[in-house]
């Protein structure tokens, strides 16, 4: 298991409300391993805990319990962040900057400079088809353009591991295809991809493996090759629905969701 890029054990996250100190368990005992070069898709209904998971893995929030190792380091470790790219959910950027300045700023935070920096920015603008809009202030960008810029920003350091939170939401068909192709390209280059999505056709195309999160618990994990035997995304949809439905039935009966046990299905790993 030396090749595990993400290793999570017994992860619990409680959100405590300011008033009344009420606790809400957003993640409940999550175990997860993602191997090097693997594309892992975290699926689940709205509010399942997907974004919560990403924030914990990146060190934006601290776990209530459990351990996290990302690239062999604790979550949020500086030397690991050097090799990580992150696209947050509904990214909001510095409205007063132009796309070019925006990328320039993040390039500087990775200590890129000179020609290497300008070449990288140029290449990324080209990759996400924003070259024409590079001198426009971000305040005038459409949602899809922001999303593209977010992807460019996440790739500025040529990361080994990317976290994408709903990279394909709010995009036109061209944008969705572009992002899918970028993710396939990253996969081809041996990068590890961890992403949340509701777009099952894209998930089917990109992922090696998916996990289904429901009410803070992982209720199913499997390889796409095993789920989509005949190669259609409908099979993934069926898998998703079955898992959710049986977990919900469980929940209604016992008042809690039975988490998935890793022995039930194949262990993770690239194909």
């Amino acid at each position: 298991m030396t090749d595990a890029v993400i290793q999570v054990e017994g992860l619990v996250k409680d959100h405590v409300s300011h008033f009344l100190r009420k606790r809400f368990r957003a993640l409940d005992g999550l175990d997860l391993t993602v191997q090097k070069g693997e594309a892992f898709g975290l699926l689940g209904p709205n509010g399942a805990g997907k974004t919560t998971t990403q924030k914990l893995l990146l060190g934006l929030t601290r776990p209530t319990a459990g351990t996290i190792k990302v690239l062999g380091k604790p979550a949020g470790d500086k030397s690991a962040l050097e090799r990580i790219g992150f696209l947050p959910e509904n990214p909001y950027f510095y409205a007063y900057l132009t796309a070019q300045e925006f990328l320039d700023f993040f390039a500087q935070l990775f200590d890129l400079n000179g020609k290497q920096k300008s070449d990288r920015i140029k290449e990324l603008l080209e990759l996400v088809s924003l070259t024409e809009a590079k001198d426009r202030p971000i305040r005038k960008f459409s949602k899809g353009m922001m999303q593209r810029l977010g992807v460019a920003q996440a790739l500025i350091n040529d990361p080994d591991l990317v976290f994408f939170d709903e990279p394909n939401s709010g995009l036109d068909p061209i944008g969705r295809r572009d992002i899918r192709q970028i993710m396939l390209l990253l996969k081809q280059k041996g990068k590890t991809i961890f992403f949340n999505s509701h777009m099952l056709p894209d998930v089917k195309d990109i992922c090696d493996r998916v996990g289904i999160l429901h009410r803070g618990k992982m209720i199913g994990q499997n390889r796409i090759s095993d789920i989509c035997k005949s190669g259609t995304y409908q099979e993934l949809e069926d898998y998703f629905m079955n898992m959710i439905n049986s977990a919900e039935a469980d929940y209604r009966k016992t008042g809690s969701v039975t988490p998935y046990h890793i022995e039930r299905e194949a262990q993770g790993g690239p194909r």
């Binding site: 993040f106 990775f110 290497q116 290449e123 990759l127 192709q181 390209l185 280059k189």
Partner: protein, 309 residues
Amino acid sequence: MDLGDATGRTSRVMVQENEKLGNAVGIPKEPGHDKQLSDLVHKPQVGFTRSLGTLIAIALNTFRETVRDRVLYAIVVFALVATLAGLVFGSLSVDQDVRVLEDLGLFTITIFGGIISVFVGTNLVFKEIDRKTIFLIVTKPINRWEFIAGKFLGLALCVFVTTYSMGLFLIGITSLQMGSLGHAMPILLALSFIYAEMLLVIGLATFFSTFATPLMSMVFTISLWICGHLSNSLLSLGKLSTQASVQVITQAIYYTIPDLASLTLLRSQLVDGGAVPPNLLGAIVVYIVAYCILLIAGASLIAERKEFN
């Protein structure tokens, strides 16, 4: 040509067939067909030079943020109008005293520089958290103190530019009034004292904004700003009391809040042409720098422990 039902069904089936092969209409079959991205061969530095680079990047970005904000221009224009009003007021006074204009001008600069420092300063870190741009920053390989210090320096640079441009404007009109540059030097001296005061205000605002809402931070900052000017009176007030505990408390407050009263006193001595020993000036610089570093360190400690939801 038959455009009937059969044709429609055929094409739909074709699309589905294509999708099965992962090759919907118009999508290249090869993954990442027309997309290319080269590898980056880059070994980032660590240590002091890296921190410096990060600080500069964040400071310049903050500077950009503030100077591209229209509110800043509104405040500066307002300040200039107020100074011009002072000019009119000055010319109307019987003895045409240029000192009235100078004092009024410096006061205006302090107030408006302070307004910028307080309003922008209390929003700096808060806005990044509120708009979630902080997610992108703290997931980069930087230290949180670099973020806080960078924000502070960026605003300090902006206030430097605005304070000194208003100051140059004041020098311009006093010189016109007097027909000589005689007041340029004292005004420049006074400006450095005002700027030192502004640095303390920015430090306070940055510190509070890491844990309080902008409104609360504003209240805290402005209160301390005013208390700082009254610090001497506070000490004398304590001495009036016979109770030791009151004296201890007033002394504690006196030593914690920025000593702006002494700063102002020194400023007027200097501007009036009085000599101030150079080691006292040195002590002031050390005091200001140390105070700001302590505030930034405190803010960084808070930011270090913070979760970003």
